[in-house]
Amino acid sequence: MLINALNGLVYGSLLFVLASGLVLIYGLRRVVNFSHGALYMLGAYAGYSVAVSFSFPLGVVAAGLALGAIGVLLDVVLFRQLSTRHPLVTVIATFGVLLVIEDLVRSVWGTQNYAIDPPALLSGVVEIGGAPFPVYRLFIVGASAAMAAALAAWLRYSRSGLFVRAASQDPSVAAMCGVRTALIGPMVVGLGAAFAGLSGILAAPFLSLNPAMGSEVLVLSFVVSVIGGLGSFSGAFISAMLLGQVQAFGTVHTPELASLLPFLLMSVVLIFRPQGIAGQKV
């Protein structure tokens, strides 16, 4: 029981880091990033290659930096243009990005599955409540918490974080007040993409790598964002934790329906509270 809850916490943490990236991008650019799952996958594969050639920590850094750079590129070339368009236009365009990234991954890494072991320092198990629990999974929770805290602190206490929050609320007014949306944009999207990539590489030793991992996680990340409310971090946190538990307990108790549960939950939320748990009334 406790182990299930802990597994749920692990899933939830990964989902939250991933979903935070979505929230960052949507909040600032009003782009519904349909390529977010592909970014996650790219981070996992790129990190994997570096980790296997050098070391796992380097792999994590590589994933973060590479995806950050890609995010900046995406913003400058595409998202900036999309930010004034209808949200569904952004979905279509980012769907195109998804296709490009999937092709890239398939070309470079092929279609087979890969597995990666956690670094020696983090392998092994601890005893929790009398049952063994992998250390690496605890690391995932810890790392995610650290990233979330750093993000929250940056947004709350730093000047650039303030600008991001302002621009996310109202881009035109923020621009009038002198916030350089032209600079903030690439930074935020880069960060959002980096979070996706980091979530991917962190998940790699836990969940392994396969060509479908992008689309699987994409749908989940949207479910998390929609349930939480499409621009809210706190909403994403609550719903990621909730979905993590649903996933963990679902696979154990109702394996047939486990994959349906997130959708069921999202449908219920959308029908009774379309703006999500913490979202604003659209």
């Binding site: 243009q81 769907f95 296709l99 999937e102 959708f263 959308l270």
Partner: protein, 338 residues
């Protein structure tokens, strides 16, 4: 909101009826030409394209009339396909000739009911819910082996003939192409007429200002559900044709990526004309086939095409055609030295 292009339907008149004639003649010529000159590969491609274009048509219709984007239209498509399996099987109480239209009607009814529930949503929320719906259908088809054969799929018990047409014809590329063209042409004309009626104008009104329509005494929820149901029935028709042609149905057709492809086709073709999504479907198939011959990276090229279309020319193929056609009178006028 130029992407979600929803031009006013034209008023039916003499020139409309004339263009109907032109369309019919052109189609007949097309069918003849394909039969005489089309290579096997071409015809095979056309057959697949016409089937999927029914799905794209449905997705596009929803965008055009309601301004709503569905990511789950593979669900009615798949339901139509699996329904066909049932209607053709020994367990079905009615002969297939009656069963098949009933399948389409059943799917339409189901999605009308679903539409009643979800039509209170708009925009991204609506789209996400349709995504959920589609995935739920996919998972259900994969898990409930007893009903659907699970991930392995199920083979159709094809009768010797249907509606007087031999099964071999239905399952041949050219045969299916003709059947598909005939059915879709009928549907197209029916819908064009519908758009010119009071109902069509009501749909425009709902899209422009739903609140006022409610204050004018209409139950807009029912009307929106109706539009959703019609778009689902088009998808179901595609599903039926798919099942008949392939002789085999498996859960892949319910995956959201298939819904996504249909959406791409609708956008590529553009929704400012009723026929846009169908053109988009054909363009998609030919593009994909052509690209696959040229490069293994056809997926990436497709992705880039999609990005370019959304950024540079959001009204798609039909938008481009309409744009050009509108310029033609001006060209003639210039020629006359005005």
């Amino acid at each position: 909101m130029a992407m979600i292009s929803t031009a006013r339907p034209p008023v039916a008149g003499l020139s409309q009826r004339f263009s109907v004639l032109i369309v019919l003649v052109a189609l007949a010529a097309l069918l003849f030409g394909v039969e005489r000159f089309g290579s096997r590969i071409l015809v095979s491609l056309l057959a697949q394209a016409i089937i999927v274009s029914a799905l794209a048509f449905g997705v596009g219709l929803l965008i055009r009339v309601s301004g709503l984007v569905s990511f789950g239209h593979a669900a009615p498509f798949g339901l139509g396909a699996y329904g066909t399996v049932y209607a053709l099987s020994g367990a079905a109480p009615l002969p297939p000739e009656i069963g098949l239209p009933l399948v389409v009607m059943f799917v339409t009814l189901v999605f009308f009911l679903i539409g009643l529930v979800i039509s209170r949503l708009e925009g991204v929320a609506f789209s996400m819910l349709t995504l959920a719906l589609g995935q739920a259908a996919f998972v259900a088809a994969t898990k409930f082996r007893s009903l659907t054969g699970g991930g392995d799929g199920v083979i159709i018990d094809m009768p010797r003939q249907l509606y007087g047409v031999h099964a071999d014809v239905l399952q041949s590329p050219y045969g299916m192409f003709v059947v598909g063209v005939a059915l879709l042409t009928l549907v197209y004309f029916a819908l064009s007429i519908a758009e010119c009626t009071q109902l069509g104008r009501l749909a425009v009104a709902i899209r422009e200002n739903e609140e006022r329509v409610r204050f004018l005494g209409y139950r807009t929820r029912v009307l929106k559900a109706g539009v959703f149901a019609v778009s689902a029935s088009l998808a179901a028709l595609g599903g039926v044709l798919f099942a008949l042609y392939q002789g085999f149905v498996s859960p892949e057709i319910l995956h959201w990526s298939f819904s996504g492809s249909a959406l791409i086709m609708a956008i590529l073709g553009g929704t400012s004309a009723l026929w846009g999504p169908v053109a988009g479907a054909f363009a998609f198939f030919f593009l994909k086939d052509g690209l696959a011959d040229v490069t293994t990276h056809w997926l990436a090229v497709l992705g880039i095409t999609l990005i370019l279309v959304t950024i540079a020319w959001p009204s798609g193929i039909s938008g481009a055609v309409q744009f050009l056609l509108a310029r033609v009178p001006a060209l003639f006028a210039k020629g006359k030295g005005r």
